[in-house]
């Protein structure tokens, strides 16, 4: 049902849309109906405040000038004036109720996560996002891809400094997508301004939100809840594409996942594991243990030359699969697959002079995970 108040929103939104696109000072209009409703509310309330401000300060400054002391004005002395008091109490009430009506309707719409076409589980982890396309057997982790050289100031900063990821969240346009949002460790917040979604992800809770994107494009966001030392290094990138393109992407991801699963049973060579392991290490592990395994004490121990790691393969595997309780090291049994775990363990046992010669096969890791 199209409510009458929407007319007001439409008028104020249309009047300010063009300026908003050009202005970096205002909030974004966004690319969903909800984001446009929120922008319309924002502008409606802004102009209400402007009108009130002009009237109140206009009357005040006029009175200050017109009835100034130097012209012989004398202050009125009276105790009460019921009619005026009722008027200046009733008018703000009516204004507030008038603003609350469209705001309530928009809020109700924002929280209506029913009848979604696609469900995606979003899990915050220190310091990355994991996306699972429920019912599609597609899941991946999205990591910051800005180079360490840029962060350390050794290279020129790119256009999307700290806002680039290795794997963006891919969504189809014109479909209602429901997000189920939680966290593995501390509270994070998944925030993409263009989608008008800012939702806390809380360990032990599942929050819901939804989007239906109208325009294809790349939309960027960040974690909006201070979540630890690398809070600024877990951006969000959403790639919204046409439905047909999305179906092609989904099919490719499913095929890749199947091939990855098949790879668990075959014998992997040291060189293959090292190449894959370096990729996994740099995207997942290097934010804490640093790019050359030198660590950052006291929170993140060095892996290069770490005697316990070198001497005890079982201990090493246990740390990766099960994490370390009470420490920053998370369990990777559900976020990395056996091939990724085997390759990153092999890599860290043979890189930076560790040279153990150990080759950990994915099949062995898969067996450990199922125990």
């Amino acid at each position: 049902m199209r409510l009458p108040w929407r007319w007001l929103l439409s008028v104020t939104s249309a009047a300010t849309l063009s300026q908003a696109h050009a202005s970096s000072w205002n909030m974004p209009v966004g690319v969903t109906d909800i984001s446009r409703d929120i922008f319309g509310l924002h502008m409606t309330i802004f102009w209400v405040c402007v009108v009130i401000g002009v009237i109140v300060f206009g009357v005040m400054f006029y009175s200050l000038f017109r009835y100034r002391h130097s012209k012989g004005a004398k202050a009125a002395q009276f105790h009460e004036h019921t009619s005026v008091e009722v008027l200046w109490t009733a008018i703000p009430i009516l204004i507030l109720v008038g603003m609350a009506v469209p705001a309530t309707a928009t809020l109700k719409n924002m929280y209506d996560t029913s009848e979604a076409d696609l469900d995606i589980m979003i899990t915050g982890q220190q310091w990355r996002w994991r996306y699972e396309y429920l019912g599609e057997d597609v899941a991946f982790t999205s990591n910051l891809s800005t180079s360490r050289e840029q962060i350390r100031g050794e290279a020129e900063r790119g256009e999307h400094y700290l806002l680039d990821v290795d794997e963006p969240l891919v969504l189809p346009i014109n479909r209602k997508v429901r997000f189920l949002m939680t966290s593995d460790d501390v509270i994070h917040s998944w925030w993409v301004p263009e989608l008008a979604v800012k939702q806390d992800t809380i360990p032990g809770f599942i929050n819901e939100n939804w989007v239906q994107i109208n325009e294809p494009g790349i939309y960027r966001g960040q974690c909006a809840e201070l979540c630890g030392v690398n809070h600024g290094f877990m951006p969000i990138v959403v790639h919204a594409m046409e439905e047909a393109d999305y179906e092609i992407w989904l099919a490719e991801r499913k095929e890749a996942a199947e091939q990855e699963a098949m790879g668990v049973d075959r014998e992997w060579a040291l060189e293959e594991l090292m190449a894959r392991g370096e990729t996994v290490y740099q995207s997942i592990c290097s934010s804490c243990h640093q790019s050359e395994g030198q660590g950052a004490m006291p929170a993140f121990p060095a892996l290069a030359g770490n005697e316990q790691l070198i001497d005890d393969l079982d201990w090493h595997l246990d740390r990766i699969i099960n994490g370390v309780s009470g420490a920053a090291m998370p369990a990777f049994r559900s976020t990395l697959n056996p091939v990724e775990i085997a390759s990153v363990v092999t890599y860290t046992r043979n890189a930076w002079g560790n040279d153990t010669g150990d080759v950990v096969q994915p099949a062995a890791v898969a067996e450990l995970i199922t125990q």
């Binding site: 049902m1 409510l3 108040w5 105790h79 009460e80 019921t82 008091e85 009722v86 109490t89 009733a90 109720v97 609350a100 009506v101 469209p102 309530t104 309707a105 109700k108």
Partner: protein
């Protein structure tokens, strides 16, 4: 009863003239004001809920 309701509504709005306030404090019974105030507050809450439900369609 109507003067009591008027006084309760005035309290809800936060505006009351001094003459009526003196009258309420000299002649009214507190229990009557309290009961009427609870009922008026209940009606007010239901009214707000109704507005919210209407606005949300």
């Amino acid at each position: 009863m109507w003067p009591v309701v008027k006084s309760v509504l005035a309290a809800l709005l936060g505006v009351q003239n001094d003459r009526q306030r003196q009258h309420d404090f000299s002649t009214g019974k507190p229990a009557v004001f309290i009961i009427v105030a609870v009922l008026v507050t209940l009606i007010f809450v239901l009214l707000l809920a109704g507005i919210a439900i209407f606005a949300a369609g």
